[in-house]
C-alpha cells in the first residue's frame, strides 16, 4: 500500500527542471490568452463542478491603457508561495496532523502546474486541497466545519472539489518526506550504535530535520526529487546544525552512511549522483524567496484587475440569474455564468 516504487507519484509527478518551467509557462500563456480574449481570466465554477468560461468581450471597447496586465511567472510563484504558507497556517489552526498538511501542500502545488493562478483563486483551491487531503489521509472533516473554522463558504469548497481532483488526474496518494525522515533516523539509531544518552540527540535531530523538510516543501523541490532524497537532504542539513554523527568528522560518517544505504539496495546509482541531488535540493532551498508585503499588495492588485473588468456588469447579470447555489458567488469579481 505504501509502495513508492509502484506509485503514481513516482511515475507521473516527478519532473525535470525544464519540464517544470514549461508547464508553468504553458499555464501562464493560456491564462494570458484568456485575458486577451475575454477580458477576464476568472473561471466560474458551478454547483455541479463544471467550469464555465467567461464570455468574450468586444475587443474595441478595451483600449490599451485599461487592458489589465497579466501576472508573470515570478509573480505567480510569489502568489503560490504566499498561499502555501497560508495553507500551513490553516492546517495548524485546525490541529491537523502533519501528514495532512503535507498532502494538501503537494496537491496545491500539482494543481498549479496545470492551471494558472489567474484562472482559479488560490484561496479557494487552498481550502479545497485541505479538504481533499483530510479525506485521503483518513481524517475526514466536513466541508461545513472547514468553512465555519475559517469563515468561508463551504459550498465553494464542494464546487471546486471535482476540479481539483481532475487536475490532479486523480493521483491522490502522495509521499511526503516526513515519514522517510523518521525511517532514516530509526535506521541511524542502529547504525550509530546509539547509547541511551544519545537518544535525545537523535530526537533533536529528527525535530530539526522536520523543520528542514518544512522549508524544502515550500520550494519546487518536491516536483523534482523523490521524497527519499528530500529527506536525506533535510537530514544532512539538520546534521550540520547538530553534529550528531560527528565523532569521526561529519563528511566521512555521512558518506559511510549513504554508501551503506546504497549497498543495501544494490542499486546501479552511485554515491556521487546521490550527493549531486542533495546539493541540488540545497540550492533550491537557498534560492527560495518569500514575497514581501509590498510584493503581495502589488500582485493582488494586478490579480483584481485581471478579474475585475467585468465586475460592473456583474450586478446586473446577477439579478437575472436563476442559479440555485448563488450563495457561492459571494465575491464581486466573479464572472457571469453560462446558465
Amino acid at each position: 500500500m505504501a509502495d513508492f516504487h509502484t506509485s503514481t507519484h513516482r511515475a507521473n509527478w516527478i519532473f525535470s527542471p525544464q519540464e517544470l518551467v514549461e508547464k508553468y509557462k504553458a499555464a501562464n500563456q493560456r491564462a494570458i490568452q484568456t485575458l486577451e480574449k475575454y477580458g477576464t481570466t476568472q473561471m466560474e465554477v458551478d454547483a455541479d463542478g463544471s467550469l464555465s468560461y467567461p464570455e468574450p468581450i468586444a475587443r474595441d471597447n478595451a483600449d490599451k491603457h485599461s487592458r489589465p496586465k497579466p501576472l508573470n511567472i515570478e509573480e505567480e510563484q510569489f502568489m503560490r508561495v504566499f498561499y502555501e504558507n497560508k495553507l500551513r497556517e490553516v492546517c495548524s489552526a485546525f490541529y491537523f496532523p502533519n501528514k495532512i498538511q503535507a498532502t494538501a501542500l503537494i496537491y496545491f502545488k500539482r494543481f498549479y502546474l496545470q492551471w494558472s493562478v489567474m484562472e482559479h483563486h488560490p484561496k479557494h483551491i487552498m481550502l479545497t486541497c485541505v479538504y481533499a487531503a483530510c479525506k485521503i489521509e483518513e481524517n475526514h472533516v466536513s466541508a461545513e466545519e472547514l468553512g465555519k473554522g475559517i469563515s468561508q463558504d463551504h459550498q465553494m469548497i464542494l464546487n471546486y472539489e471535482m476540479i481539483v481532483y481532475q487536475s490532479l488526474e486523480f493521483d491522490l496518494i502522495v509521499y511526503a518526506p516526513y515519514r522517510s525522515v523518521e525511517g532514516f533516523v530509526n535506521d541511524m539509531e542502529e547504525f550509530c550504535g546509539v547509547k541511551d544518552d544519545e537518544n535525545q540527540m537523535l530526537k533533536d535531530l529528527q525535530e530539526t530535520a522536520r523543520l528542514e523538510v518544512d522549508k524544502i516543501m515550500l520550494t519546487d523541490a518536491p516536483h523534482l526529487f523523490p521524497p527519499g532524497q528530500l529527506a536525506l537532504a533535510a537530514l544532512r542539513n539538520a546534521n550540520e546544525m547538530h553534529r550528531v554523527l560527528d565523532f569521526e568528522g561529519l563528511c566521512c560518517v555521512l558518506c559511510r552512511y549513504l554508501r551503506r544505504i546504497l549497498a543495501r539496495q544494490n542499486s546501479k546509482h552511485t554515491i556521487l549522483q546521490l550527493i549531486e541531488s542533495l546539493d541540488a535540493i540545497d540550492a533550491w532551498v537557498r534560492k527560495f524567496k518569500f514575497p514581501t508585503e509590498k510584493d503581495m499588495k502589488h500582485i493582488n492588485r494586478k490579480l483584481k484587475s485581471c478579474w475585475g473588468h467585468s465586475s460592473h456588469d456583474d450586478s446586473k447579470k446577477r439579478e437575472k440569474k436563476r442559479h440555485k447555489s448563488h450563495k457561492s458567488l459571494n465575491e464581486a469579481h466573479n464572472g457571469p455564468t453560462l446558465a
Binding site: F4, F94, H140, Y175, R179, G183, P226, R264, H269
Partner: protein
C-alpha cells in the same frame, strides 16, 4: 485530532450523569431484586422523559422532592461510591489500599460533591453547563452502572491497549517508515 461533529448523545449523557448522581441507590438498599428493578425502571423512565421533553416540569419537581427527602442517603451513597472508586483504582495500580488515604479521599470527595450537589438543589431546570464538568477526584474503578471512569493515565493506557488489541504495534509503524525511506530515494 479529529474534528468531528458533536456527539448526538451528548444531551442524553448529561442528563444521565445528573440523574445518576441523585438517584444513586444500589441493590443492597432494596429488600428484594424486584424492588430494585422497579426502582431502576422508574429512573430510566424519568431519564427517557427528560430526553424526549415529556412532562419535564413534573419530573423536575419529582427530582427536587426526592433530593430533599433523601439528601442524607444520597450523600452516603456518593461517599460509598468514592470509596469503591479508590479501592478499584488502587487495585488496578497494584497498590494496597490504605485506610487513612481512604478516609482522606472520602472527605475530599464528599466536599467535592457538596459543590456539585448545591447547583442541583438550587436549580430546578436541567443545567447542563453546571453538571458537565463532573468532578472525579479519584480515578479508575467503576461508577453505578459499571462504566469505568478514566483519568488521563487510564485513558492513555486504554488507547495503547486498544491499538494493540487491534493488531497494531509500533513495529509496524517503524517498518513502514523504513520502507518508505529506502524505497523512495531513487525514481
Amino acid at each position: 485530532m479529529v474534528v468531528a461533529s458533536s456527539n448526538p448523545h451528548n444531551k442524553e449523557m448529561q442528563i444521565r450523569r445528573r440523574i445518576s448522581n441523585i438517584f444513586n441507590k444500589r441493590e443492597e438498599d432494596f429488600p428484594s431484586l424486584r424492588e430494585y428493578n422497579d426502582y431502576l425502571e422508574e429512573v430510566e423512565d424519568m431519564i427517557f422523559k427528560l430526553i424526549e421533553g415529556i412532562d419535564v416540569q413534573a419530573i423536575e419537581e419529582k427530582i427536587t422532592n426526592y433530593q430533599q427527602e433523601n439528601a442524607e442517603q444520597i450523600m452516603i451513597n456518593q461517599a460509598r461510591k468514592a470509596e469503591d472508586l479508590a479501592a478499584a483504582m488502587a487495585a488496578s495500580k497494584g497498590i494496597p489500599v490504605q485506610a487513612d488515604t481512604d478516609g482522606n479521599s472520602q472527605a475530599g470527595f464528599v466536599a467535592g460533591t457538596q459543590g456539585q450537589y448545591a447547583p442541583t438543589v438550587a436549580g430546578g431546570q436541567p443545567r447542563p453547563t453546571g453538571m458537565a464538568p463532573q468532578p472525579v477526584p479519584l480515578a479508575g474503578g467503576l461508577d453505578m452502572h459499571g462504566y469505568a471512569l478514566d483519568d488521563e493515565e487510564m485513558m492513555r493506557l486504554r488507547a495503547e491497549r486498544g491499538g494493540r488489541a487491534g493488531g497494531w504495534s509500533i513495529e509496524l509503524s517503524k517498518k513502514r517508515a523504513l520502507e518508505e525511506a529506502f524505497a523512495s530515494i531513487w525514481i
